[in-house]
Symmetry: C2
Subunit: 338 residues, 2 copies
């Protein structure tokens, strides 16, 4: 390993002069810099950032945690897209990203200690775990956290939340179905977290502002990104005294499974029952019938989280909750009832 010492010796300057030259300090004249840089080149010197960090007490490193409660990890189609954008934005700003493995989170190790021992400047959580103690401790620690999409919105001074404008977009989606003539709509919603409550609120608002009566039967509890329960839930809905004409699923992944189940039962989409998903995964636009869904702005979500992280370590005070606009994709899975 070539160190700054080697460069100093070889170039005839002292270590501090070399350090300054490499930092492009005004104190060092051009000719010295040139000389030093040529030696750097010659020896193939590469500065050791670990040493630099230790000295400066600046670490330029964020952690990322992926939704500990699920098996999905990076395979979560929505979160992986958000993560992509987060990482690229962070990378543009010259920070590093360290991944905290699901194993680490599940093992019950002290997450705060883990992060501190690695000098992480902040942690990005792709959906908080809704039960994990360590995640909670991390959120209420002095390490800044930015949580996207799945969170409880517990107030914590040091935690920042980003999500789509779920209430508004769910209201839009519901209004669209109503406009198309649907009066009996069921919303299979996910876990009780902030985004779910918002979606339910938007759902209700649309129903009520259309002059219809909201009744609790319109809500059915499900889970996000979990196909296993879908056939039971769908069967339950099909045997209700009032069978809906339209079912909103918690997300596209579950909605695909709903397609499958309905197909097996000989029920046509959208002729017999209409379906909508949520998230806007690429492939739902290419299945038959093209699935109506909410397209979350994955790029904006990821970038926003990154910007908040960066502004935080710059000592700024961003908003604690940021909402990002989402769009409706009409598809063909919600029929028009005459």
């Amino acid at each position: 390993m070539v160190t700054i010492k080697d460069v100093a010796r070889e170039s005839g300057f002292s270590v501090s002069t070399v350090s300054r030259a490499l930092a492009d300090s005004d104190l060092i004249p051009k000719h010295s810099k040139t000389k030093i840089k040529s030696v750097v080149e010659k020896l193939g010197y590469i500065p050791n950032l670990t040493a630099k960090s230790l000295k400066n007490n600046k670490f330029y490193n964020f952690g990322v945690i992926t939704f500990a409660g699920e098996e999905l990890g990076f395979s979560h189609n929505l979160f992986s897209g958000i993560l992509n954008n987060f990482i690229n934005e962070i990378g543009k700003n010259k920070f590093d990203v360290t991944v905290l493995s699901k194993h680490l989170v599940d093992s019950g190790e002290d997450l705060v200690a883990y992060c501190k021992s690695r000098n992480l400047n902040g942690v990005f959580m792709l959906s908080g775990d809704f039960s994990n103690k360590e995640m909670k401790k991390l959120q209420s620690s002095d390490i800044p956290t930015v949580v996207v999409d799945g969170f409880k919105n517990d107030e914590s001074d040091n935690s920042y939340y980003v999500s789509s404008n779920n209430r508004e977009v769910m209201k839009k989606l519901t209004s669209l179905a109503i406009q198309k003539g649907h009066k009996k709509i069921v919303y299979v919603h996910g876990e009780d977290i902030y985004v779910t409550r918002e979606r339910i609120a938007g759902f209700k608002e649309a129903i009520e502002s259309a002059g219809m009566d909201f009744n609790p039967d319109m809500l059915v509890a499900g889970h996000y990104y979990d196909m296993s329960y879908v056939s039971d839930v769908i069967d339950g809905i099909l045997t209700k005294e009032v069978v809906p004409t339209c079912i909103f699923m918690p997300d596209d992944f579950c909605a695909i499974k709903a397609y499958d189940v309905l197909h097996e039962r000989g029920i046509r989409i959208p002729e017999d029952i209409s379906i909508a998903g949520f998230d806007g995964l690429e492939y739902v636009k290419h299945i038959y019938p093209k699935m109506a869904t909410v397209i979350q702005n994955v790029a904006e979500l990821g970038k926003t989280c990154a910007k908040i992280m960066i502004s935080l370590i710059n000592g700024e005070e961003p908003q604690h909750l940021t909402l990002i606009g989402a769009d409706i994709y009409n598809g063909e899975s919600i029929r028009t009832i005459k």
Copy 2:
């Protein structure tokens, strides 16, 4: 920040004794350890791994690069699953994982320098970029690299390759179609990399061992994980003088698009044309008709890569090429021709 010095002062021992006690050294008697650990507890001391690393010249940190050539990053449905398993396996072994952003790779920065300055012990590449110079330099550097799935298999002493047993499984898939009565099969294959060549080889072998004539018309060039070219390619195939009864697509993602295109053209799957994908993404089992595909063993692929990385830094000499078995999922998209 509480340092080892603080613990030393507070406990009345010297820094070195504290260090030894925390490393559970035999030199330190139980009562001293107990005393020291109680002070650690009291002060909330957390060891600084950066300092430790610097001192020991051990860094316990791997890099991960995601397929620079594409927009997908972590959204790549196959690679994200592999990555999941890689990270968890690495995490179990107490190493950290640092993400190298696509931005970093695209920007043309010196990747080797980047990795060295961060003291990365090795780099995991999810599909090599087939053109990127920096990626190549990295692979031929003294930093060990493990590449999964998309690679050229250029010989490099310090690069290790893992993929599914593509030749064998593609032979199986092709044989299955032949057995079902298909004689006119077209394989839309991906970029010219090792895995593609293997798949093509397996495809040929199946055709020839069935006593059929292989002809180059059976191969059509496409791309992996790219929907944009699919409709052109499909249209091209449909206007051939001999229209095939079965089309193999490069992957599930493209195959979904093929479903879409054929549907738009009024061509039924599998009655008119049979389709198969490749990779085994969860949702292809839930679309209609259920898509025949090759299920790559994502868990084994990821874990194997991790194990190779770890064995490398332990000074072992793993094989340079490791093949993992894959399975066929029959689905319903390859019809039986009587």
